[in-house]
Structures are given as structure tokens and as C-alpha cells.
Symmetry: C3
Subunit: 413 residues, 3 copies
Amino acid sequence: MTLSGSLTSPAPRTVGNLLADYRPGWSLPQDYYRSEALYRAEMDQFFLTEWHFAGLASEIAKAGDYMLFDLCGESAIIVRDAEGRIHAHANVCRHRGSRVCLEPRGSARRFTCPYHAWTYNLDGSLFSARLMDGIDHDKLGLKPVAVEEFCGLVFVSFAADPTSFDQMRRDMGPLLRPFGLDRLKVAARKSYPVAANWKLLVENYNECYHCAPAHPEFARTHPTHMDGDRMKPLNKAMVERAQALNIPTDYVDTVGEHCPPGSVDHTFSRHSLYDDVVTGSDDGKPVAPLLGNLAGYDSGAADVYIGFFNPFLIYNDHVVTYRFIPDGIDRSVQEIIWLVRDDAVEGRDYDLQRLTWLWDVTTVADKTIIEKNQLGVLSRYYEPGPLAGMEFYTRRFLDLYTSRMARAADLPA
Amino acid sequence: MTLSGSLTSPAPRTVGNLLADYRPGWSLPQDYYRSEALYRAEMDQFFLTEWHFAGLASEIAKAGDYMLFDLCGESAIIVRDAEGRIHAHANVCRHRGSRVCLEPRGSARRFTCPYHAWTYNLDGSLFSARLMDGIDHDKLGLKPVAVEEFCGLVFVSFAADPTSFDQMRRDMGPLLRPFGLDRLKVAARKSYPVAANWKLLVENYNECYHCAPAHPEFARTHPTHMDGDRMKPLNKAMVERAQALNIPTDYVDTVGEHCPPGSVDHTFSRHSLYDDVVTGSDDGKPVAPLLGNLAGYDSGAADVYIGFFNPFLIYNDHVVTYRFIPDGIDRSVQEIIWLVRDDAVEGRDYDLQRLTWLWDVTTVADKTIIEKNQLGVLSRYYEPGPLAGMEFYTRRFLDLYTSRMARAADLPA
Amino acid sequence: MTLSGSLTSPAPRTVGNLLADYRPGWSLPQDYYRSEALYRAEMDQFFLTEWHFAGLASEIAKAGDYMLFDLCGESAIIVRDAEGRIHAHANVCRHRGSRVCLEPRGSARRFTCPYHAWTYNLDGSLFSARLMDGIDHDKLGLKPVAVEEFCGLVFVSFAADPTSFDQMRRDMGPLLRPFGLDRLKVAARKSYPVAANWKLLVENYNECYHCAPAHPEFARTHPTHMDGDRMKPLNKAMVERAQALNIPTDYVDTVGEHCPPGSVDHTFSRHSLYDDVVTGSDDGKPVAPLLGNLAGYDSGAADVYIGFFNPFLIYNDHVVTYRFIPDGIDRSVQEIIWLVRDDAVEGRDYDLQRLTWLWDVTTVADKTIIEKNQLGVLSRYYEPGPLAGMEFYTRRFLDLYTSRMARAADLPA
């Protein structure tokens, strides 16, 4: 027998070497989960340069309102200026690098660094640097971070040259209009630390091959055979109900090779729940008021991606969104945000326990699964295995991940 | 003055460079305790490829009974099949690498991976992969891990080509027969985390030069001058008593250069306790029923090694075995397992506190000693010092360790 | 926009490469705070080779009295021998490297290693090695560590060739005589863990540009504009009062390029407090009996450095000294020691709470500031910024740090 893995790396490898080892349709080779150099490269060249959902525009409704967006050691101040425009600034003082803004959210006329009191305007420009002569104010404003608002959702990218929202706005705007995403509020946020590499979280999220064995709570309300024969009649009936309610059932799949260069990835699809199930809940019954302009339930849910890392699962009465947060090569945080319409009142219109139950119990189960996956992929006996047809979206993630890492091929891994 | 150590390594080193620095009869140079690359190499090329005591065959007595054996990130499922044969399988699913078996012990007809429900037979072959077409079942069984049973003791090696038990069985079988090792049970297990490199634990275990200053509890029942003049009359009297009881007093020392290539190391020797002491206990009095076929006490104890890392200290009424468990370059776990005859009843035939007292108090003291040793060997003032004659077995460990690491000479250190 | 920082390092860098990136008058480039190799180099080539304040000679007043001095993994036994001489020995046994002395302070006739009982005389020479033949006792004494006493203060350096105290003694002895530093005792010690690179602590300590915005408690008793026009009249009045009391107001600045090669850096300057403030306290009123031979208060305080890392802030009634203790690249400990005259009695002559209040509250605030600075300098948006005139001593630290690291230019960074 030949051991597939080895705990020692006899020669320095590059990201390009690793990419050559990837076999499409199979899980990733071991080094993808244990190379610290690769981890740094993928953060720098891929993860942090993608768009990330940062919050709701309604969270910073008035001039001077701000919220921080922290990810993998980076921090952005997202702030609305006096003209109502949203900016994002790197939360790094141009003097000696201190965080300028310490509170996670608030309202300010200007931002004053707590260290030496350098002060910045809402648009990021330097307002004053105490007792300093001969410095060039124009070159010492807070550095800009890319930010976009779409349907009331705010996204941030730490790329110097991020992808454009233009085509996505045209494609997705009409499809999302009925759901009134610009009139949402955050009902709940939960964080689940997972002792695993971030890619294992994304691989897990993107397939439902594991739903039947691992998630009985989910499987009793959601059909888990996305492409199977058993889905067809369910989906056919759902489409009829949706059309009667003017709910879009288009299929948009503008990701990877289907996405024009320079445009942000985006998808829209609508899937049926079981017949007697109208939303993602314990008993299939509603958990919050209908979203936006919806007139009723079609026993369906929309799967939406805005950018590669931002899935929005849009039920008729609430939205669930996932955040994948790397915290070192072998630790991550899975965050879930539950959104409901902004005029819903907790206790009257929705119950937090009922609202969050399904995805909480599902994520707790996934935490264990993913951590056991992490242990296995680091074994010297691990070797990549074949993916099932139901793991199509996981395969696509791996394809896209490896294809985008090609830009880092010369970096050490 | 010239500093011997330096906190920076100006040039990349190989394991071979380190080996050239080793001076037999002296303690190891500093880099052996602080090179992360060396640590990975020694795990891969030496530690994990040696045989390790994993448990008793009686712990998996019936078909389908299994127990996990975890070591340094590897996990093996040790299971008895329907024909009574013992197998060990890598606990790594061939699909996407999850741990297949999560419970430390139990009984099963088959093993089903908790992630996507791939299912394996007790012999490791793939029984089913849900909803998968076109895969080669014959190539997707759990990978085999080397396993051996000897005298009811089960050993595992993560080597692709482990050493053979054949000669050891011939040499040691007759010597161990009187002790009835195949009729033992685990009376107690304790783990002692030690903030030190694993080699310092092994170095400590292998010499009794420190017993007189550091272990008064041990020294009052066990003579600590193994080769000294004071031992000779004690051992001579013990041999006479042992022979009268048909207890072997042979000397087997088949280790390192004395061990044929491809064979597992093994030793047997019998040492006298003090005259009025019959076993390793607080007061020298028995702590459990006599083992196997023994008819009495000879005030002796057998030192046995099966493989380099598995010492069995066989008193007439119980067995103590040590496990050395690396947990990163600067952390380890010292585990102790106490074994008594399988029909002994706790509370009636033995008292756990009395049984475990001696080696517990000794190991607690060693924990402190070893941790202070770790601090010192990392100092820039540390340089290898001369070993005493009483440190012969520690020297032999260092010789054998360096000789086996020669196979990794080209790896970075 | 071009990102200044990058989370990946495409090519191996040397310390020399980093030094080329340093721009005097600006904060340090990012790699200075995140290169593990640089951290090891700076510990080895700079930090540990400087002199460090280790305690008071009065703490080891009698023959055999000893105290340990631990820093960055090194440990020195500072001990007074029978002739009254102070020695420092590496706390590393010459046998197998154990710490020899475990208690932080005590009194001993000899030092016996707890592992194998090798025993050393107070002067470090080997007294006995149990059961060992054929070893060279003369070559197996504890290794010497550089130690100096000055004005009752004890300093240690882990350099093989430390700088000399000769000129410093001549320059500083007369200036410090009135303060009776040889008749002090330790009134309090506190440690503040700071999640930041050690250099950020030193940078923070060396400038008062941040005092007005960040330290209102300090700023209401201490003028914070060291070089400004507002200081001149205050200092002029203080000098008159000091001269009337025979308190030195000399200015000594023998640091870096002003310091002869081979001599320890040292500074002396005296600064005015506000008129109605006589010491560093909550209300500006005395907190302990007058030091040494002082006859009264001049509303001034002396800033003294003995070696680069040992600031002594000498008020008329107490001394505050800071220790900067690296604990890995991104963790440090800020220790503060408060000294009062040795015949002062707690509760009668001074109250610990009042004595320690000012620098405790200031250091707690600095801990937060420095940790937020650490977060920022690791951002991909960080780039060095211009230092203010008031940051002159921070700039000097950076200049001196980079100049001394030049000796390590060929090491990897």
C-alpha cells in the first residue's frame, strides 16, 4: 500500500503545483487544507477580493450613521454622508495605523482617531492632524474600500479592482422586487465557531447530498433531491402557484464561466418545499409576516446569490443569509443572519425561537459534520474521492476556487 | 564567551545536518527540540511508523465490536469481523474524507459515514455509496492500517511497511505466558498533559538516574541503581525466588542493532524490588490478585518492551503501561494504563486509589521535571551535556532515534 | 487604487530588505510587525542583548540570597556570593538542560538541579555531579550572564559582549546621588498583557503626542508639550526651584549616535510638572516620603534611561519604571514597578492605591490604544505615516532599532 498523504513536504510548492493536482469532480487534495502559505494566498487573492454582505442600508439610515464591517483582520467603516451617499473607508489611521473607529455602530459628524486625534470627514478626507506641519492633507485621507448598495443590501469588497454590479442589477433587480428586500430588518444573528478550514464550510453549504442522512429536521420540510425525478412534479405545482402570485420563477445562473469577466456572480432559482409546507420552519407554517408585496404562499423558496459568498435563502416570510468567515487555516465562523420585514414586531408578528429554529439546528449539526471532515482530510490516509451528482454546486465551487487561484499560481503554497 | 544556541537560523537545515551534530553519549542539540520541520519529519518517518499499544483484544471480544485508536491526528477503527479476525481501518471516508466512526467504542454491523452515508463492511470494503453511479467500489474501501494481536494485546502501526512480529512472538511468548496477559482488563487510565517535546518524556522514562533525587515514593520500594553493586545481591535473591515460582528471569534485549532488520524491537528483563516489597505500591504490599498462573510473589518485576514505544512494567499482581503522545512540538500527553486480571472486581479485589498511587505520584513529579527541562533546552545557553552511566537506556533511545531519522536526512529541519 | 500591504510575501526577504524600506520620520512598514523571522532576529540580535533592569541589589542583600530574572524564555539566577559579589548565571543545567533553580527568589548555599541533583556553587562552578566519572568539572559550571549593579539597581544582559557601564557611571552617578536610589524598595509591581508587538509598546511609551487626547488623568498634572512654547516658562521656574534644593537639572542625552560605541545608552533630563503639582498622583500631592537627600519638592520629575529599555521616571517621592516584555510577535507584557524609599512603611508613609493610581490608569488606557494600533498595522490598507515633531523620541527609537538591526541584515525576514 502507498500512503497518499505525507506529513512532510519534501520540496517547496507553489499554488500552481497544487492547482495541477486538482482533479475536477473529485474533492481537493490534502495540501489545500493544510498549507499556511496557500491560506494566505487564497485570502489575499480570492476570498477578501470577493464581495461580502455587510448589512442593510437601513442600518445607517441617516447622515453620519455608520457601521463597521470586519473580516479576516480587515475593518471597514461604512458610513452615510450628508448627501445620503454610502462610503466605505479602511478603518486604519493614516498617521500610525490605529483603528480610527472602535464602536461597531453609531453616528458621528467626523471620525477622530482615539490615539493622536487625527480627524477625518465622513467622506474619508483628512479634516485635521494636530500639531503637524508640512504634511499633504490630500494624500492622507482614509483609504477607500469598495462598497455597493443593491435592493437595500450593502456589500463590501477589499479588492483594488472589484467586479461590477451593473449586469447583476439589471438581471436581479426585477426578480427581487416582489420580496421588498429594501424594507427588511435584522431579526437575529448567530455565530457558530467551526474548527475547520473555511472551504469545508462552503463545500458543505453547497450540496444537499448530506441533507437526508444528516438533517432530518430540514429534510422533512424541504425536498433534498434537487435534480431528481421526485422534484419535478413538486416544482411544477409550485411554479403554477408562484405564477398565480406573481412570484418570479426564473432561472439565472450567472456564475463562473457563465458570468462575463468583470461582473459579480449572481444566481436566482426557486425551489419547491413539500406541499403542506409554506416556509422554513419546524412545522412548515409561517414564522413572520409576508415579505414585500407578496400576496400569499406558493410553498417555494428562492435561492439567490449576490457574489460568490453571499447566499440569500428567501422564504415568503423571511430571509436567511449565511456568512463564511475564515479565522486561520483551521478555524472558521459560520454566521447566520435572519431578516424579516422592517415593520414586523418581535413577540407580536414573529417569535425568535420559531424563526431561527430550523437553520440553527441544521447549522449545529453541520458544525459537527464539518469538524469531523476537517479531521479526516488532514489524515495521511486521506485522498480525494469522487463527488456525487448531487454535489454539483460543491464541484462548481471547487472549479471556481481553483480557477480564480490561478492568478496566484506563482505564490508559494 | 560564545553562546551555544541562537534564536535565529541563518540557513535552512536538513535533518541530515542535525544528525551530524549529534554526539553519542550527550544530550541532543537544541534544534531537535525546536524545529517544526523536524517534528513533522520525526512524526512521519519514525513515531507514527512504530507500533503502538492500542488496547486489549478482550475489549472487542465479539463480532462487530470496535474501538478507535487515535494518535497524532490519525484515527484507526479496530474491529473484529464475523470470523473473529481483527482488522484496523483508517477512519477516513473515501468520499470526501470525513471521519466514518465517531464513537470511541461500540458494536456495529457496518460503518456508515455520518456525512453522506457511505457504508463500509466490517472488513473495510465499500458496501454502498448512495446515489452514485460509475464509481469503482473495489478501489473505495477504507484503507487498511497495520494491526497485530499478541498475548491479548493489540498494537497498531501507521507504517506502510511495518516491522514483523514473528521473531518477537517466538522470543517473548514463552516468557510472558505465566503472566496471563490475555486475561487482563483495563482497571484505570490517566492522562497527564506535559508542556514539553515528546522526546523529553521518553528520555525521562528511560533512565532512573533521576529516581533518587526526584522520586522518593518510588525509591523507597524500587532499587534505583540498576547496574550498581548494590543491585547484585538483591537480584541474586530475587532470581532464586522467581525460579522457585517458575517465573522467567531471562534477559532479552532485541533492540536497535541487536534487532534483525524488519523485526519489531522487544526486551524482557526482571529486576528486584526491595526485600520486603512485593509490588509497586505505597507500602510494598499487594494491590490486586496475582496475575495468570503465578503462585506467589518473588519481590521482582518484569520490564518488557513490545516495540520501541510500549513499555509494560509487569508486577506480579498488575501491569502498568505508558503511552507517549506528541501533541505538537512543545506539548505532549503522558498516558498511563493500569491492567489487572479480568476477573478481579474493583472494591473487592483491588482498590483503584492503592493500585494507581505509585505511578500517579511519580508521573505528577515527572511532569514538573520535564516541563522545566523543556524550558532549559530552549535557552540560548543550553548545550548538550554528558550522560551518566545510569542513563544508558536514554542514550540508547537517542542513538536509535537518530539512526532511524537517517532515512529522513534529506528533509528540511 | 494600489493596495500598500499584501497578505502574501511572494519572495523570501532578508532583514536587509526590510531596512531598505524604512523611511526615517515615518512609522514602520508592515512587515516589521508580522514577520516571525524578523521577530526572532530582533530578539536575538537586539532586544535580548540590551541591558534590562532586573531588580534592586537590596533584594539580595546577604550571601546566598538570589532572585531569578526571566525574559523571553531566558532565565538568569542573580545571586550574591560569600564575598558579597553579585553574579548572574544561566539557569540551565549543564547536564541535560533543566532549569536549576525553580523558586523566583530565596537563599541557598548551593544550587542543586531538581532533575539529577547536579550541584553548583554560588559562583556558578560545578560542585558535584552524582555518579559521573570522567567529566571535566571546570568546563561544566553554569554559564555566566552579564550583570551590573549601579546605584543599587541591578541590570542583566544576555549579550555575549554587552556594552560597558563605565561612562554611564561617570555621567549619571553624580546626577542620581540626591535621589538615593540605593535605598529603595519595591512597593508594587503590576503586569498588563497587551495583544500587540513589543515595538508598538515602546513607540507608545516614547511620545506624548497622544497624552492630551488619550490620557486626561496624566495631562491634568503633567504638561504634555515637551518642546513647546508653553513648557518654557514652566521649566524655567522649575529649574530655579530645583537649584534651590540642589536637585540636578542637567541634560544628558547619550543615546544612539551620541553614545560612544561600546557604551550603554543613558539619558537624564528634568521636566516641570504643573505649578501646583509636586508629584505624579491623582491630585498632584505627595504619595510617599521624599527620596534620598531631597529637602523638598521642585514640581519637577527626572526622566532617566539606563540602557535603551529601562526608563526611570523619578519623582521626588517615588520612582516608576517600565519593563517591555515581548511574548511572541503579537503579544507583550507591560510591567510597571513602583519604588519608594526603603524605610517607608505601607499604610503609614504611603498608600498603594494612591501611589500606583496615575500610571495604572494611564497604562490601562494605553493597553487599549496599542491593541487597536496592532490591528491597524496588520491591515492591507496600512502604510507608514508621517511622525509629528512631538514623536521625536519614537522616531529616535525607530532609527536606533533599525540601525542596530543592520547587524542582522543577512538574516531572513
